[in-house]
């Protein structure tokens, strides 16, 4: 399982991590390049599409990564260790911001008409936006497993390790997350099926 996670990022191996632990900025740049989009994606979806907030949080995450990478002992896969940090930072930051920020403007969740040709591309994008909006409304405990599964491509076992819970809990939270998405976006059923 961990092997699979590492295989997904073939550039990062023990040597790169060891170099990062030695303070090699070049190695850190490599680490950053490999994970920046994944980290940023989780942050964007966690902050309801607020890219500025996501940038701030991503920065925090990489700073933390840089300063604490010496604590990584290789007991688990590096990705697991990293995603645990990502999830915790996002949740902490959400808690902090919740007190100060007004509720964000929802992305559109309206009907996406079936379209053909060039318009299909835009319809697909609109579906993705609707999903993002619906994801935003999920409770973090249901949102995070979905992000780790579909954005990061982790297995249930890996998600369980990242979230420090059992595989059964992951399955149960994904169940509820999937059902919540389906209920919120049931009007997109045809669009999703046609899109397939």
């Amino acid at each position: 399982m961990e092997q699979r996670a590492l295989m997904a990022e073939p550039i990062i191996d023990e040597r790169v991590i060891a170099a990062c632990q030695q303070g090699d900025r070049e190695a850190f740049a490599l680490l950053f390049e490999s994970y920046k989009d994944k980290v940023f994606s989780i942050a964007v979806y966690s902050f309801g599409g607020d890219r500025a907030a996501a940038s701030d949080v991503s920065q925090q995450i990489f700073l933390k990564l840089m300063t604490s990478i010496n604590q990584f002992r290789g007991d688990s896969a590096f990705t697991t260790w990293l995603y645990r940090m990502v999830v915790n930072t996002c949740i902490d930051e959400q808690r902090k911001r919740k007190r100060f920020l007004p509720f964000g403007e929802s992305l559109p969740m309206g009907r996406v008409e079936n379209r053909r040709g060039p318009e299909k591309h835009y319809a697909k994008r609109e579906v993705a936006e609707c999903v993002q909006a619906a994801i935003k409304e999920l409770k973090p405990k249901f949102r995070m497993p979905i992000l780790l599964k579909y954005v990061e491509g982790l297995s249930y076992e890996e998600i369980a390790t990242v979230l420090s819970c059992s595989k059964g809990t992951v399955a149960s939270r994904l169940n509820r997350g999937h059902r919540a998405l389906a209920r919120k976006l049931s009007h997109l059923r045809d669009e999703v099926v046609v899109g397939d």
Binding site: P10, I11, Q21, Q22, G23, D24, R25, E26, F28, A29, L30, F32, E33, K36, D37, K38, V39, F40, S41, V44, Y45, S55, S58, Q59, F62, L63, K64, M66, T67, S68, I69, K124, V127, A128, V131, Q132, A134, I135, I146, L147, K149, Y150, V151, Y156, A171, L174, N175, G177, H178, A180, L181, A182, R183, L185, L188, R189, V192, V193, G195, D196
Partner: protein, 388 residues
């Protein structure tokens, strides 16, 4: 048989996270349990929606800001020995840039990307065409592409690793979905024979008149120019579905389906001609065809084995005729304990399920002893597979 409801395992099932034996049990349960199947449909939609979440690109400014933070006074320092950071020195910049560029190019070319799904096709006769181009001995049918055969061509498709489909002459099929949890072909016209050895409900064939859902089986499916289709099952079971109308067809039985109407009532092919003609009238004739004379023929001609047909008729006949169907069915196969006349007349799903499980033994003809297999239904509370 998997008697527990499977709702809590459905996401894992959809995501391919259940072991094979458990996946099979879940699939079998889903065939028979309307409640779990409704939840399965909901979760499957949720999965498909979640699959639309794209990975986003971090802004370029992120690295610059991060560098500023790392270099700035008071910023967290890396847990490293300071001398390693001497390559702030400009002489390393071109080297670092070159390394990053090489890595970027390497990643672009060598990073494993998800391949476009395709199924292997073998030419059996003539010159089958994929996307209008003739194939050699072998070809690949990619997602969305049509495979067509002319009057003298035949081809065989490998359905991922779960089965094979033979395409007869004058047939047109398209690959619609090739995912671990769903393999789907569209049969626009012509005839195909499928042999599937995967858990049930992994392989589907869309036709203009219904969807054929594999329940672990072999079958032929033929679609004519009007879009009407005929299913003939040679091993196991197949479900024919259109919206909420569904027919469960076992080995040795056939079922016709018509565009706009959906699947008719399944019947065994050794039923009498009069029985089959009456059934066709009942299923697809004008409304008055459902009247007494047609039903009389069906009831009078029915053998114990034709309880397959009568059982399917229970929810399809007018309420006033249901008692007659029940009485005849009860004569052919006595209802088991726990199944009451009142319950069946009210279409109690659990009772219908129980009764059907008893009937299955009479559906095994001599030639089907080895091929029908267990009825793919769960013995769960509200399992039904009720057809309407």
């Amino acid at each position: 048989m998997f008697s527990q409801h499977v709702a809590k395992n459905l996401s894992a099932y959809c995501n391919g996270e259940t072991p094979n034996n458990e996946a099979r049990q879940i699939a079998e349960h889903l065939i028979g349990c309307n409640r779990c199947r409704r939840q399965f449909d909901e979760i499957k939609l949720g999965v498909r929606l979640a699959e639309r979440l794209p990975q986003l690109s971090a802004p370029d400014s992120l690295w610059l800001d991060l560098q500023t933070q790392l270099d700035g006074a008071g910023a967290p320092r890396p847990a490293v020995s300071e001398p390693r950071f001497t390559f702030r020195s400009l002489r390393f910049v071109p080297v670092a840039a070159l390394v990053l560029l090489t890595i970027g190019i390497g990643a672009f070319y060598f990073y494993p990307r998800p391949a476009t799904p395709f199924w292997d096709v073998v030419r059996l006769n003539g010159s089958p065409r994929i996307a209008a181009s003739p194939i050699d001995a072998k070809g690949r049918l990619a997602l969305g592409q049509w495979l067509e055969t002319d009057g003298s061509s035949r081809a065989q498709i490998d359905v991922g690793s779960i089965g094979q489909v033979e395409i007869d002459p004058n047939t047109r099929v398209r690959l619609v979905t090739a995912k671990p949890t769903e393999h789907r072909l569209e049969l626009a016209r012509g005839k195909m024979s499928a042999r599937i050895w995967a858990p049930p409900r992994l392989f589907f064939v869309d036709t203009p008149a219904a969807v054929a859902a594999d329940l672990g089986c072999s079958y032929t499916l033929e679609v004519d120019d009007s879009g009407a289709a005929l299913l003939h099952v040679t091993m196991g079971w197949v479900a024919l579905q259109l919206k909420d109308r569904e027919s469960m067809v076992p080995a040795g039985a056939s079922c016709a389906t018509r565009p706009g109407i959906g699947p008719g009532t399944p019947y065994f092919e050794d039923a009498s001609d009069a029985f089959r003609v009456a059934l066709s009238k009942f299923d697809f004739g004008p409304a008055e065809s459902r009247s007494m004379p047609t039903l009389d023929v069906l009831l009078n001609q029915a053998r114990p084995r034709d309880s397959l047909t009568l059982w399917h008729l229970l929810p399809r006949v007018a309420e006033t005729d249901r008692e007659r169907v029940y009485d005849r069915l009860a004569l052919l196969v006595a209802p088991p304990a726990g199944v009451t006349r009142e319950g069946v007349l009210q279409l109690n799903e659990q009772m219908l399920q129980l009764w059907r499980e008893k009937m299955v033994t009479s559906w095994r003809g001599v030639s089907q002893q080895q091929t029908l297999g267990d009825f793919p239904m769960a013995a769960s509370g509200d399992a039904s597979g009720l057809v309407r």
